[in-house]
Symmetry: C2
Subunit: 222 residues, 2 copies
């Protein structure tokens, strides 16, 4: 193949099937290992074993451990931001915020490893994605805060601080992934069942929505 053609291919983002499959396998293994051991505790050998290939092959696809880690974190961030869709296309405050809570709980359930990697990255001062925090995340946050403020102005919800409402949603939903081990231990050592997940989602949504006055007060109270 001519050099020019190869470059065009890469530029067009059309890599070999092999390359795509291998990169995905490595990224999946890396996500798990980084989540379970942290960046410092993770080793290329562990990731290679989990991906079922020799260590040298990892360095063929990803130059350094940092590169691999960065790709993992970027993937998570993308998923994280995408959950915002439920926020925007909502009819009212209860649907918007409730849908967002549900979406984030679903992420915690489906991508526990990714959530942990993200948490770890932020906890350690966001050494590799500080720029994302300052641009994408800041912009996203300001947009949602405006949306919440609009709902407040319209009288749909109580006059809470939109910022702290967002933090509470993030914290609570991600807790079910990041502290999943603790939750499991407190659940007789067993992972949450479908029914228990449903109960968790409903509890979280109910308390928060009622907390911001988007639901009528609980019945059966004096």
């Amino acid at each position: 193949m001519e050099e020019a053609v190869r470059k065009m291919r890469i530029k067009a983002g059309r890599r070999t099937d092999i390359r795509r499959a291998r990169e995905e396998a490595i990224l999946a293994a890396a996500e798990k290992v980084f989540a379970e051991a942290g960046f410092g505790g993770a080793t290329m050998q562990l990731i290679a074993d989990m991906a079922g290939m020799p260590k040298a092959n990892l360095h063929y696809y990803f130059a350094t451990k940092e590169d691999l880690y960065r790709r993992v974190v970027e993937n998570i961030f993308t998923i994280w931001l995408k959950a915002a869709d439920c926020f925007d296309n909502a009819a009212d405050a209860a649907a918007g915020i409730g849908g967002y809570i549900e979406a984030k709980m679903e992420i915690s359930r489906r991508h526990p490893f990714g959530s942990k990697v993200w948490a770890s990255e932020v906890m350690h001062g966001a050494p590799v994605i500080q720029d994302y925090l300052e641009t994408a995340l800041r912009g996203w946050t300001e947009g949602r805060m405006r949306a919440i403020q609009r709902w407040i102005d319209e009288g749909q919800i109580a006059a809470v601080d939109p910022r702290h409402l967002l933090y509470m949603i993030w914290a609570t939903t991600q807790h079910y992934a990041d502290f999943g081990h603790q939750i499991e231990t407190l659940n007789a050592g067993k992972p949450l069942t479908d029914r228990q997940w449903r109960a968790a989602i409903d509890s979280v949504r109910e308390i928060i929505l009622r907390g911001i006055g988007a639901l009528p007060p609980a019945p059966g109270k004096p």
Copy 2:
């Protein structure tokens, strides 16, 4: 000094002043380094530098890195559990839960490093404090859940799931420590002021208390 006297001294917990001071200095440095770099990323050299002593001296007081780490985690856990006092000596549900939220927010503010170490430990599967989770934490949790259930039965708060209420409190309050860097970034890169901390605490307490029906619905709403 005779061997017997020395042993009595140690048994009585009365070590040398020097020993106590050094151990404290090392523990403080270790807490910070473990929080910022994770267990795997932390090095004994870094901790030694931060504590202002040569690395070999660390190993004189703490046999291994694991020992040192375990001591740090145990210290945190103690603080963590002690916050429960506000829970027990409360006149009613609003005071009990509100006080607990306030206490946990204060911990997040005063011990951000410890909170991060704890979060990191649990996120990675609690390799060194699994026994604590299964004994002390489980017992503590069950006790508080009973207290909450009693408040529900007495009609003081709505019929929420006590377990998920506790998780929400833990998640939200610890978020201000564990994700402090993200919060700071979203606060124009500046740490929260006293006033902002006050607003955060009030927001959290208000939303949660109203969410469980321990506060009257927000005023000024249709």
